[in-house]
């Protein structure tokens, strides 16, 4: 699906973060938690390529059917700045949904989501899907400071247990969110089964992978490789994977990911 989606609204959350709502029923209908879209931020050839964004929310229309989706955008460069400034009414090309979604669990299994910064993006749809299946869910969510933590109420309303951390201690625990995660993992009995899901900076995801392995839990991570096409055509987005005892090899994260089994990734080779 490639649609010329109308920008329905652009809500600035801070100087860096905003949420863009797009009319894109055909994409929204098919979207599964953890999938992404490729957005063309400008009309001309500078910037040239599309940019990948997680599907943050699926918006339903008055008939209760999927009518559009939102993106949680953090501005880090030229494309995300254009998306930060985009005016409602404009059209942006939106290709998707793309990629391998998260593996959903069923009760009695529980689900812990671990988000760092804009790594929150894939978890709104995941939390909704888990709730629909009756899975108990928790969110460990870290940011630099209180002003960088968003939508905590929304997760709380979905019945998600929240553990927050900020590097400056302005909200929740001071420090990285992986510290309370480590404690919670250590304190938790083996049953019921527990699935971990992580998205955020590489060091955070790597630490989640390490903790999950140490505690014998399965973890999925959503990686953010640079992507040229999002469709498997360019081979730019590769990640080194080692499955079972096999030799490590590159796979395309746009088609075999962005969600990977944390234990499969050759973390030493992943860019920080």
């Amino acid at each position: 699906m490639d649609v010329e989606a109308v920008v329905r609204s652009n809500t600035r959350l801070s100087d860096d973060y905003n949420v863009v709502a797009l009319d894109a029923p055909a994409v929204a209908e098919r979207a599964r938690p953890g999938q992404f879209v490729m957005i063309k931020p400008a009309r001309g050839t500078d910037p040239l390529l599309r940019r990948p964004f997680s599907i943050f929310e699926v918006v339903t229309g008055s008939d209760g059917r999927p009518a559009g989706l939102t993106l949680l955008n953090k501005r880090v460069g030229v494309g995300t700045t254009l998306l930060y400034e985009v005016e409602p009414g404009r059209r942006v090309a939106c290709l998707g949904p793309l990629g391998r979604p998260f593996t959903l669990v069923d009760p009695p299994a529980e689900a812990w989501m671990v988000a760092g910064g804009v790594g929150l993006a894939p978890f709104a749809t995941l939390a909704a899907a888990l709730r629909a299946r009756g899975v108990r869910a928790a969110l460990f969510y870290g940011g630099r400071r209180n002003a960088d933590l968003f939508f905590t109420d929304r997760f709380a309303r979905l019945g998600v247990d929240l553990t927050l951390a900020t590097e400056d201690g302005s909200r929740g625990r001071r420090g990285l969110v992986t510290a309370p995660l480590a404690e919670a993992l250590a304190a938790r009995p083996a049953a019921p089964p527990l699935a971990l899901y992580a998205c955020g900076p590489t060091p955070m995801m790597r630490e989640v992978a390490r903790l999950a392995a140490a505690h014998g839990r399965r973890a999925e991570v959503s990686l953010e490789q640079v992507m040229g096409c999002g469709l498997g055509g360019c081979y730019s987005c590769v990640v080194r994977i080692r499955r079972g005892g096999g030799t490590p090899h590159f796979v395309r994260s746009c088609v075999e990911g962005p969600v990977f089994d944390a234990g499969d990734i050759v973390w030493e080779e992943l860019a920080p």
């Binding site: 490639d2 063309k40 001309g44 050839t45 500078d46 910037p47 040239l48 390529l49 599309r50 090309a93 290709l95 490789q225 640079v226 040229g228 096409c229 469709l231 498997g232 055509g233 360019c234 081979y235 730019s236 987005c237 590769v238 990640v239 080194r240 090899h249 590159f250 088609v255 080779e269 860019a271």
Partner: protein
């Protein structure tokens, strides 16, 4: 409208070809694009053996362009034939296999293997990839190297042979002539321009391979010039490419002398570009009272210029 073209013995229903390395093995796009509607699909460059390619970062964006140093990650020709060709045949794709070797014998061996494969329509000889140390461009930057590889492959196969030329040379037309003398059926150009980008904060190259190939709209004016130079100095059909992103761009190459065109980078930006290109070309022909794509090919009017 008659959009059909001939590249020597190879007849295509239209001149629009997916450029090698920019369309995977074709099958990746089957959900979005009806492969049988393309003139042809030039699949990702293949060596005899599987290759890992370079570590990421493999691409970086530049003004109106991009650098890539994929390093020809690939499954090798045998797995390609076994795993991809059945699907490509089923999907009705006209398949041009882009082949790459470290030695002349490797090209010959690849040509032999592919000659017997049902559904392979032509061979594009990648003697112009700037991203690998051995082979490839070392042939493409030497006239004798080009002549040598092309004539060896020519002897080894009855398939149409299309050497792909590098733009990183002083006189590209000389290479087209060398290919013509060696028995090529057509030439394709341009491959990417050797280039680099530096992260000034870390003072490190942005690509793991230090250098990569520049593609996209940025290079289009140079590529059009090179096609025009080749058109003026050989009789070989030319497959033109470099930054094509619209019907007007494709027509620009045609007017300069390209019989067929390939689209690479723009396919990343707009994977549904093919129908737009076809519609735009038909509209143009209609507005100009023409009925055939070939009516436009090589019609640059330089009178008074």
């Amino acid at each position: 409208m008659d959009l059909s073209v001939s590249l020597g013995p190879l007849r295509l229903k239209n001149p629009l070809i997916a450029a090698s390395g920019c369309f995977g093995y074709g099958v990746e796009y089957a959900d979005l694009v009806d492969l049988s509607t393309l003139g042809a699909v030039a699949v990702k460059g293949l060596f005899l053996e599987p290759r890992e390619g370079h570590p990421p970062p493999r691409i970086v964006e530049t003004p109106s362009g991009m650098l890539n140093a994929i390093g020809l990650q690939g499954i090798g020709v045998r797995r390609f034939v076994a795993e991809m060709m059945p699907d490509l045949r089923r999907l009705g794709a006209t398949v041009i296999v882009n082949i790459c070797g470290s030695t002349r014998d490797e090209y010959v061996e690849l040509a032999r293997i592919l000659s017997d494969v049902e559904g392979v329509a032509a061979l594009e000889l990648n003697i112009s990839c700037p991203n690998i140390k051995e082979g490839g461009i070392q042939f493409g930057c030497s006239l004798t190297g080009t002549h040598g590889v092309v004539s060896a492959v020519r002897k080894a196969t009855a398939l149409p042979v299309i050497p792909k030329l590098t733009p990183n040379v002083t006189d590209v037309a000389a290479f087209a002539r060398a290919a013509e003398e060696a028995g090529a059926d057509a030439v394709s150009l341009v491959n990417t321009f050797l280039a680099m980008a530096i992260d000034v904060e870390t003072r490190r190259p942005k690509l793991s391979n230090v250098m990569g190939g520049l593609s996209g709209p940025a290079i289009r004016p140079i590529a059009v010039r090179m096609v025009y130079e080749c058109f003026q100095s050989t009789r070989l059909p030319i497959v033109g490419m470099g930054g094509i992103a619209s019907a007007a761009d494709a027509l620009e190459f045609a007017i300069a002398g390209a019989t067929a065109v390939q689209v690479g980078t723009a396919n990343f930006v707009d994977p549904l570009i093919w129908t737009k290109l076809r519609a735009g070309i038909e509209d143009y022909l209609g507005r100009h009272g023409l009925t055939r794509w070939m009516d436009v090919v090589g019609t640059l009017d330089t009178a008074g210029r």
